[in-house]
């Protein structure tokens, strides 16, 4: 450890200003993030009363109930299944698009805009449009292909249909991050590879993929967390009486149902705490993996 030095007057002055400048942000974080987070932990140990009044401490009762509830486990499984579709496909497709759109060709900015557009739309609006595309009776998909597939009501395929919406919505965002990552790779590598006779595909796998791995890792990590907290797609696309709902509803959806529709905040808080612990475990595993798979220059 470094020896603690006494601060000079100038340093003290700078520190004071530093704190002053971050105060608004810190205040915002404390009020809007930390306090609610701590309150959620407390609530998860309570049988909550109406309107936040009259909470009774019940220890681990909410957790015991949640861990014994097959609905919770099913919803965690559903969430993981969603992530398994959204993250890999969202990353791979975005990467391929990014590589193409990084070339100096005519119209790249047009296509970049087109692929980024889903990010600009409100998620609820996106979900509503897809809901009608998927509609079994009147949906565009079934009309074009002259099929009668119950895209969002068949428990076997509904989770895939929802996953596709997720992939579609996120590609643009991932792509923009990839493009910025690609532009940081020095062109010399590719020139050298070309002189040595490497093909485009070889260049992609031996230069682009490894040198892009910090960006890829960042995207994967943030998207995994994003996918594990998915809510709006299921909520908007699927009716309460949809047969496939039980096989698609995410953990956050179940949390919403208990906490807000049924007004059982304590149980909802316990569900969300279980999800937080799960996400933490996943994050730790990914951080470990970072050391093995990610190359930093």
């Amino acid at each position: 450890m470094k020896e603690k030095k006494k601060m000079t007057a100038k340093e003290k002055n700078e520190a004071m200003w530093g704190y002053l400048f971050v105060t608004p942000t810190i205040l915002g974080l404390i009020i809007l993030n930390f306090y609610p987070a701590i309150d959620t932990v407390i609530q998860s140990f309570c049988k909550t009363g109406d309107f936040g009044k009259g909470n009774v401490f019940v220890g681990l009762a909410n957790y015991q109930r949640a861990l014994a509830d097959p609905e919770i486990w099913q919803s965690l499984l559903n969430t993981i299944k969603y992530a398994i579709i959204e993250v890999p496909f969202g990353v791979i497709i975005a990467l391929i698009l990014a590589v193409f759109l990084n070339k100096k060709l005519k119209g790249t900015s047009f296509f970049r805009t087109v692929f980024f557009l889903p990010m600009v739309c409100a998620p609820a609006a996106v979900a509503m449009v897809w809901k009608w595309l998927y509609n079994q009776q009147f949906g565009l998909l079934n009309n074009i292909f002259h099929t009668s597939v119950a895209w969002i009501s068949d428990p076997k395929i509904a989770w895939v249909s929802i996953g596709i919406i997720g992939v579609w919505s996120i590609i643009g965002y991932n792509m923009v991050l990839f493009i910025s990552g690609l532009q940081e790779i020095p062109g010399d590598y590719y020139e050298a590879a070309e002189i040595d006779g490497a093909t485009g595909i070889r260049q992609f796998f031996d230069i682009t993929v490894p040198l892009l791995s910090p960006t890829t890792f960042f995207i994967v990590q943030t998207r995994v967390i994003g996918a594990l907290t998915i809510f709006d797609l299921m909520f908007m696309v699927m009716d309460k009486t949809n047969l496939a709902l039980q096989k698609v509803e995410s953990a956050v959806y179940v949390f919403y149902n208990y906490a807000f529709t049924q007004g059982n905040k304590g149980y909802g808080a316990a569900i969300v705490m279980i999800l937080v612990v799960f996400i933490m475990i996943v994050t730790v595993i990914m951080q470990r993996a970072e050391k093995r798979f990610v190359f930093y220059n």
Partner: protein, 443 residues
């Protein structure tokens, strides 16, 4: 150096100012929509039905014209309404005057969040509680006798059918003498003749008050017993009612279809010949594109004793009534009460029916409602009150818990998915009995 410091300090002040302004800017509209009255003294009214906004605003304007403050009627859709109201109640930022519903009002009454109206009513000669529908008054009266809302309206259920489809398949129009068996026969003819392109009937598990609840009562059972402490849905009578539902489901639109598109949209797209609907929905059918084809008949009866005619107690319609309530924390309780009393006065109740907003919460004030929709006869909704029986919409302290569970897998969704198997429906009734009993036990 000093100047530099001064500049930095000024910059800081400016930033903090901006931050404060941001905070103020974002919280101000929230206060407008949910806060207890603003500086101008205008009263904020929250409702969830956009169909009624215009009429309610008109009646509120009448009140304003009597020398009262201005009233802003805001619509927040059903789902968000309750989330916002609860958040507002927890944070002390409720709208001034708003609608209450049987699903949730108990929670608000028990926590003293609503303005207690007893003293106002006692001092006001114009309000006579015995003039209102008993079930609605009871709903908004706490067990200790405190009254928290005045009845705004009441609604009933009727059968809606599409004449064009009946003509096309040569089936006679429904009449007031129809039983559910007649509905079944007609639906069967239409569904079979169209080869599945058009369905004779549509009913989802979520069509409870406007749908299958009524079957249960027709056959002599109750979804929630009169003391709000139990159910008889798993009894033989309850099962007989749901068996009738099952029979109709075999010739109705499959559950997957109604879950994706909704029975109302299917009906308005000409894909369904008959549905049951509540009087609060008339306007959306009245303003629909093909409204000339639509007609209402009295809700069919359940021929429980099988004698082929409608006996006493075989035709039931759910009725429900919203209540006008004010927040307990409201800044100007006198004005809010005055507005509520006006909205529930004979004059306003009559006007509400005349404008076709809804039927009145005061008895005998709804006659004008039948004539409010020119070209569409909606008297089926008022006739059922004379020729049939009304039961109040089933509720307990936390209705949503069991109401949602009944719609989903593990309860009636299973039966809706397998309409051809009577055993599944019987099991679903038993499960429903369990679900309701457990939910009440946990309240």
């Amino acid at each position: 150096m000093k100047i530099k410091k001064l500049l930095v300090a000024m910059l800081c002040v400016a930033m903090v100012g901006m931050f404060a302004a941001c905070g103020g800017g974002s919280s101000e509209p929230a206060q407008d929509s949910s806060g207890g009255g603003d500086a101008s003294g205008a009263i904020t009214v929250n409702i969830w039905d956009a169909n009624q906004q215009e009429g309610i605003q008109q009646i509120c304007n009448d009140w304003t014209a009597l020398g009262n403050p201005e009233v802003k009627v805001e619509v927040i859709d059903w789902d968000n309404y309750w989330t916002l109201l609860e958040a507002g109640a927890s944070g002390g930022q409720m709208p001034d005057v708003f609608w209450c519903h049987s699903n949730t009002v108990q929670m608000y009454m028990e926590n003293d969040l609503l303005l207690k109206l007893n003293d106002y009513i006692d001092a006001d000669d114009t309000v006579d509680m015995s003039k209102y529908y008993e079930g609605i008054v009871k709903l908004y009266t706490r067990s200790d006798g405190n009254i928290y809302a005045l009845p705004k309206d009441h609604d009933t259920i009727a059968l809606l059918y599409n004449k064009a489809i009946f003509d096309q398949y040569g089936v006679e129009y429904p009449t007031d003498d129809w039983s559910w068996d007649d509905v079944y026969e007609a639906a069967k003819k239409i569904t079979e003749a169209s080869g599945g392109d058009v369905y004779g009937y549509a009913l989802n598990t979520s069509n409870n008050q406007d749908g299958w609840y009524n079957f249960v009562y027709d056959y002599g059972a109750q979804v929630i017993t009169d003391d709000h402490k139990g159910t008889t849905i798993g009894s033989d009578a309850g099962k007989a009612g749901m068996e009738m539902v099952r029979k109709i489901l075999t010739v109705a639109a499959p559950q997957g279809v109604v879950a994706e598109t909704g029975t109302d949209s299917l009906f308005q797209s000409g894909k369904v010949a008959m549905i049951t609907q509540g009087s609060w929905m008339i306007n959306s059918f009245y303003t629909a594109e093909n409204h000339a084809d639509y007609a209402w008949a009295m809700i069919p009866y359940g021929d429980a004793n099988g004698n082929g005619q409608c006996d006493d107690g075989e035709r039931w319609s759910a009725y429900n009534g919203l209540g006008w309530a004010a927040a307990a924390s409201v800044a100007n309780p006198d004005a809010c009460y005055s507005l509520i009393a006006y909205l529930c006065s004979e004059e306003a109740q009559k006007k509400q029916a005349e404008l076709g907003v809804t039927m009145a919460g005061m008895m005998g004030m709804s006659d004008a409602f039948a004539g409010a929709f020119e070209g569409m006869d909606v008297s089926a909704f008022t006739r059922v009150e004379e020729e049939g029986s009304l039961y109040f919409r089933p509720y307990t302290r936390n209705t949503t818990v069991w109401e949602d569970a009944l719609q989903q897998a593990g309860a009636f969704l299973d039966a809706w998915q397998n309409p051809n198997d009577p055993a599944v429906m019987a099991t679903a009734c038993d499960n429903a009995q369990q679900i309701i009993e457990n939910a009440i036990a946990n309240e």
